[in-house]
Symmetry: C2
Subunit: 344 residues, 2 copies
């Protein structure tokens, strides 16, 4: 990606590092209830009423900006100079890469949700994979312990976890051990590194190319059916897409194609009874050398337990380095870390 | 416990903190094989041949000393001024509390195993619960990240994990992702805090009391059948026991009874098909306010998967705050964190 924060150039001006690894913030809101049980302006509890200029101002703090917008049914989707923002009635997802400062949005987001929608936060999921170059991040994001201290200063009952290896590839999570969200919810994420050169070629030399062509030629258009895709090519390379499904479903993909620090993220909340064939399509499309996979599901999710729906039958080209299954108050989570088998 | 390191007194001389939480090091060895496939002095690969004065010297580095010795079948067991040491043919377990420096034993242990038994390490498990007062520990042990860096400087392919909440009660593990131990192996640990006053009274005012009486009156004698118990009372309070089962089975219990920092650890490698009734007896005997429970099992273990044998049916007085199930190369691990339900 050529815009925004996080570029590191050597003396000749060549980009020597870009951190594709995103910081992902997902917030769930509910109406503030008055003491007599009445909900003040309850009909206003729709986060989409927050004015666009307020959102743009909040994004300045995060060090990124809006480059594209799309909508469908109950959702607004923004492609950002670094990744994506999704806003539906009660859920806001802000995912940003590079050296953006996503947690700097929190004060603004909580204030905007109160001011325009009379809403308060009921659940939060802040997560990220370990960075390739933590030393290049702004100070708060150099270590997850500091991010946790900051979040603990804002939220009560926050719980922080590390899945995978502290001294290797891992995935950090901060969430609230609190009220449950009473609707089906599930999130699959695949965070892929060391990607195949041929695949990455689709996302190189993008200057002057149409995003629709890249979406189609790369196979992204065929990953999830009935998806309204808003794709965006960065110059001279890089690609982002937001896909909107019916109701509040979404898919989002971000590609950093440079060989030295290639990274692709795939995320969806699409409701499925079994994610195995989707996982297989993603692996065939991007051919990562390594990846971390997480699946969050709550009790109402169509697939029920996250553990039973990721059977690994289609992962036979990969060696599993870690698999962990966590039971939280309202969600369960399956985490896996896989490395491509060099013999095959 | 009144001996050894880690006592913190206020001005009046009253003990204001003692860290019962142990650092647990378990090492597995195998004979060093020569290049032609011949095992040099293979019959000597029995760690019990290491002379006692060498062991005592190694323990000086850890800042603790031997206070009692027992043996049975294939095992030597030592009660230390801070916790325990078990030595069988190929396995060594060193568990020490207070402000001992258990990792300072590593260089000596590896050298002794090579010198006297021609053995090298094939697996390591270093684990501990979060300390109550990490600020009182020696520098290396104030943060697990530093312990990991130290272990990574000695071992290749070490994998470090945090189970539970980084910002709450958690349990740290460092292990090798390497060769498998080809014999059944399983370890149950329960690390208990906020213990019941009536139960802790058994381990208070121990000056002049017989350890046998404390073992019997506290109910410890009835926890595991066919167990050769070596108990030890510390003055003015505190209790440790090593229990030897047939072959290389063991049980070890350590009690820090002071109300302000009460702590009890239970650990066994007893082979069982189901640990539920043992867990229930431990909870009834010690009545902790909170506890962390871990069960490690390898493929050969009688109970198979650690997850399926901890059914929680007998934990109905407790609320589960976390449960995580991890699949490592040779072992699986179930971790749980439970808090006593105040309503009952």
């Amino acid at each position: 990606m050529d815009q925004g924060s996080g570029k590191v150039n050597n003396e000749g001006g060549k980009l020597t590092h870009y951190e594709g690894t995103e910081k992902l913030l997902e917030l769930w809101f509910e109406p503030i209830t008055l003491e007599n049980g009445e909900t003040k302006r309850q009909k206003m509890c729709d986060l989409r009423v927050i004015p666009r200029d307020e959102i743009a101002e909040m994004l300045v703090k995060v060090k990124c900006e809006i480059v594209s917008f799309s909508e469908r049914d109950e959702q607004h989707a923004y492609i950002l100079s670094e990744s994506s923002l999704f806003i539906s009635k009660r859920r806001l997802i802000l995912k940003t890469c590079g050296t953006t400062t996503v947690l700097a949005s929190l004060d603004s987001l909580l204030a905007l949700a109160k001011k325009y929608c009379n809403c308060k936060v009921v659940d939060i999921f802040y997560s990220r994979k370990n960075f390739m170059r933590p030393d290049l991040q702004h100070s708060l994001y150099k270590s997850f312990e500091d991010e946790v201290k900051y979040l603990d200063s804002i939220f009560d009952r926050g719980a922080a976890y590390v899945l995978g290896r502290m001294n290797g590839d891992c995935w950090y999570l901060y969430t609230l051990d609190d009220t449950s969200i009473e609707q089906p919810d599930q999130t699959l994420e695949m965070l892929m590194t060391d990607l195949d050169d041929e695949v990455m070629a689709h996302f190189q030399n993008t200057t002057g190319r149409k995003s629709e062509d890249v979406t189609k030629e790369s196979g992204i258009a065929d990953l999830v059916p009935d998806c309204k895709i808003d794709g965006f090519v960065f110059e001279p390379c890089g690609y982002s897409m937001n896909g909107l499904l019916k109701d509040d479903g979404y898919v989002t993909i971000h590609v950093t194609p440079e060989k030295e620090f290639s990274y692709v993220s795939f995320e969806t909340n699409a409701s499925m009874e079994d994610y195995s064939s989707l996982v297989d399509r993603i692996l065939s499309t991007f051919r990562p050398g390594k990846f971390v996979m997480t699946l969050f599901t709550n009790e109402q999710a169509a697939c029920r337990s996250s553990r039973d729906t990721l059977k690994e039958t289609l992962l036979d080209r990969y060696t599993r380095h870690d698999r962990q299954y966590s039971e939280f108050k309202n969600y369960d989570l399956t985490f896996g870390h896989y490395v491509r088998d060099k013999k095959r």
